[in-house]
Amino acid sequence: MTKQKMYLRMITSSLLRRKSRMLIALLAVAIGATILFGLATIYVDIPQQMGQEFRSYGANIIFLPSSEEEELEDETMEKIRAMVPEKQVVGMAPYIYENIRINELPFMAAGTDIESVKTTSPYWYVSGEWPGDETQVLAGKELADTVGAKEGEEISIKIEGADGSMTEHKFRVSGILQTGGNEEDYVFLSREALSQIMGREAGIDVIECSFSLPQDELKALSDRVSAELEGVTPRLVKRVTESEGTVLTKLQALVLLVTIVVLGLTMVCVATTMMAVVVERRKEIGLKKALGASNSGITRDFLGEGFFLGLLGGGLGIGLGYLFARAVSMSVFSRPVFFHPVLIPITLGVAVGVTVLACLLPVRRATDVDPAVVLKGE
């Protein structure tokens, strides 16, 4: 029998025959690795996931025409969309503003793409329905209260047509909009409907965009747009971007610190358990020494065992940790978590490292002592 075969045999039989103890050790390593892999996955994924949540604050960058007389075109919107990675575009909504009269009172009508608005302003509360077709409008609450419009009723909107004369049009109020902000003074309808009553194809007055990008990338985008597209002035919505930066940094720091504390404590926990398991085997070490094994040989035996345990426990932990991270992500963000392959070698490395280190400390102490003393049981 070759030396290597004997070595392997000793390790495997030690693992297999001392089932209960090895199970305990394996469990300890697996727990450690699960926590490591799970938390690391969450930590890596948090910025993006939380960033998505912060998009509920609505648009973080808007694009305006450079001068008040000009208007933006649909083409510009497509060009801007092309500058941002598809995955980061949460929503882009074009707005056209026009003066109107309801009951002879002056108001503002906003023509927009209703479906896009739902993505850029997720905080809007509509009692009733969103406008479904071109005959329906969404009335702001203040406006509705002032003119006495109710959900489901008809209102007539007067607007200056292309030829300069005032024309009157009937619309059905599909819902009342509540935001707590200026939007409550407006009436919202589809772009097509507004163009129709204006009697011409109107260009866009402002594009509201909600991109899931950090502040510096938004700034870069804004610089790029002002350099490449003529007649477009980008403006960061500072309230949203600045605050998002501050809060998101804090949240990340929180998860990072929690991860570090949990990991540190867990790893020490794993190490003490391993040490307890190994300390028990002092007699075995003494016996081996008495039979003529060298200190380095014994150390190598334990190293091999530790390595196996670490690898096995680490592998188990990766599987369990991923399942955990996935469960967390699904229940918190309702999105599956991204699997980060780079964490696999890190988890295995830490698991093996901690196990081996925890094995070697007590082994070193046992090998330093005279076998006779160890075997006698002192």
Partner: protein, 428 residues
């Protein structure tokens, strides 16, 4: 004899027992730290989210609404006169509502238009960092210094006492060529008034076109003493639930019990309702952009922390019971010997359990205090403030340590008791 044996184990196998105590302490400290952080994270994140500014705005009831309401009566009921403005003298009352403690900051605004170098520009009077004496004898400081955290201010924030100073929005400053240190002269119907520009700010919204001055100065310009056009309130709130949504629609539709629950919970709608109660002829609205998003983010963060806490609790529980099992198994020979000498099963179980539980007690207490330390490190590093120590964490950790130690030791003790002393001592 029993206690002598216990003492013997603890002192003679000191290092082994110490290791168990240390592991239990680690697990307990982890549980303590995570539970404390988890219970406090809502409040802490809520505080951070205040950087988004006001979540409630208070406006005067619009005159049209009032004339609508009173259209059956003759128009001379006096409501018309007060309809347009809120009263500055009533502002202190906001700090006297049931949830006064939750109101972090608030600022009144008075908007008017002035003529600057031939062009009409909006001018807003507000509190910057105003100290108000309450009827209760306390004094509070609030204003936009703390509420507009996203403003980029070049120069200095104004103080409320210096009424001849102004802050100018960046867009306006650029188009009118105003710099910090300049003196601008604004015209109103009543005459001219000079202001020294102490700052130019970038806000990223429509305030960039406006001039900001202390409230008293703006009121004097328009000749409207005590008048306020709107109030921004920044309050710490509880995320909305079904009850809050029902109440927001119509508070009078709730049953007495629900109404009480709603009124005594810090929902944004109940705080708004209470503000309406104290400010005459006002409508308090929740700014949905801020309040809705706040709720969503708070919920998510709390859930995330809860799940991480559960993971670490399971981890430390398994870790502790694992080690306890290992350490009990190790004592097979000792237990075999006691059995051979005639020890009863019950007595042996008691002995081992007492030893382990004593160790667990020491470890648990040590771990609890270490855990509070960890929690404070997290609090100070992340939020710059201490995590409040919740007394309810103590029983939770105590129960966990006790249960986990028992679960770890009882099966292994039973296993060992089932073995025959001769076999154990023989070394199989």
């Amino acid at each position: 004899m029993f206690w002598r044996m216990v003492r013997g184990t603890i002192f003679r196998q000191f290092s082994k027992m110490l290791m168990i105590a240390v592991t239990i302490a680690l697990g307990a400290s982890l549980a303590t730290a995570m539970l404390n952080v988890m219970f406090d994270v809502g409040d802490k994140v809520n505080q951070e989210l205040k950087t988004y500014g006001a979540n409630i705005t208070v406006l005067p009831k619009t005159s049209s609404l009032i004339s609508d309401l009173y259209e059956t009566e003759d128009g001379s009921d006096g409501a018309q006169d007060t309809g347009q403005y809120l009263k500055e003298s009533e502002l202190g009352k906001i700090k006297t509502i049931f949830w006064a403690y939750n109101i972090v900051d608030y600022a009144p605004y008075f908007n008017t238009n002035v003529t600057l170098a031939g062009k009409e520009v909006p001018l807003t009077g507000t509190w910057f960092s105003y100290t108000l004496d309450l009827p209760t004898g306390e004094s509070v400081t609030s204003g936009i210094n703390n509420m507009k955290t996203w403003w980029d201010v070049e120069g200095e924030w104004l103080t409320d006492a210096e009424e001849d100073t102004a802050m100018v929005g960046s867009t306006l400053a650029e188009s009118a060529g105003i710099k910090v240190g300049d003196t601008i002269s604004v015209e109103v119907a009543a005459g001219n008034r000079d202001f020294t520009v102490k700052a130019v700010f970038v806000s990223g919204d429509e305030s960039d076109d406006a001039i900001y001055v202390p409230l008293a100065a703006a009121q004097a310009l328009a000749g409207k003493e005590d008048a306020v056009s709107s109030i921004d309130v920044s309050a710490l709130t509880t995320p909305d639930n079904d009850l809050a949504r029902r109440a927001a629609k119509d508070p009078s539709s709730l049953s007495v019990k629900d109404m009480e629950t709603w009124y005594c919970t810090a929902y944004v709608s109940s705080i708004a309702y209470q503000i309406e109660e104290v400010i005459t002829d006002s409508v308090a609205k929740s700014v949905r952009q801020v309040s809705e998003s706040e709720g969503a983010i708070l919920d998510k963060t709390q859930l995330l922390m809860l799940l991480i806490t559960i993971l670490s609790l399971i981890g430390s529980a398994l870790g502790i019971s694992n080690l306890v099992t290992a350490s009990v198994m190790e004592r097979s020979k000792e237990i075999g010997l006691i059995k051979a000498l005639g020890g009863k099963n019950g007595a042996i179980s008691w002995l081992v359990l007492t030893e382990i539980l004593l160790t667990a007690l020491v470890g648990g207490v040590g771990g609890y205090f270490a855990g509070i330390g960890f929690a404070q490190i997290i609090g100070h590093t992340v939020f710059g403030s201490a995590i409040s120590v919740k007394p309810m964490v103590i029983p939770m950790v105590a129960v966990m340590v006790f249960a986990v130690t028992m679960i770890g030791s009882i099966p292994s003790i039973r296993l060992l008791l089932r073995l025959r002393p001769a076999e154990v001592l023989h070394g199989r």
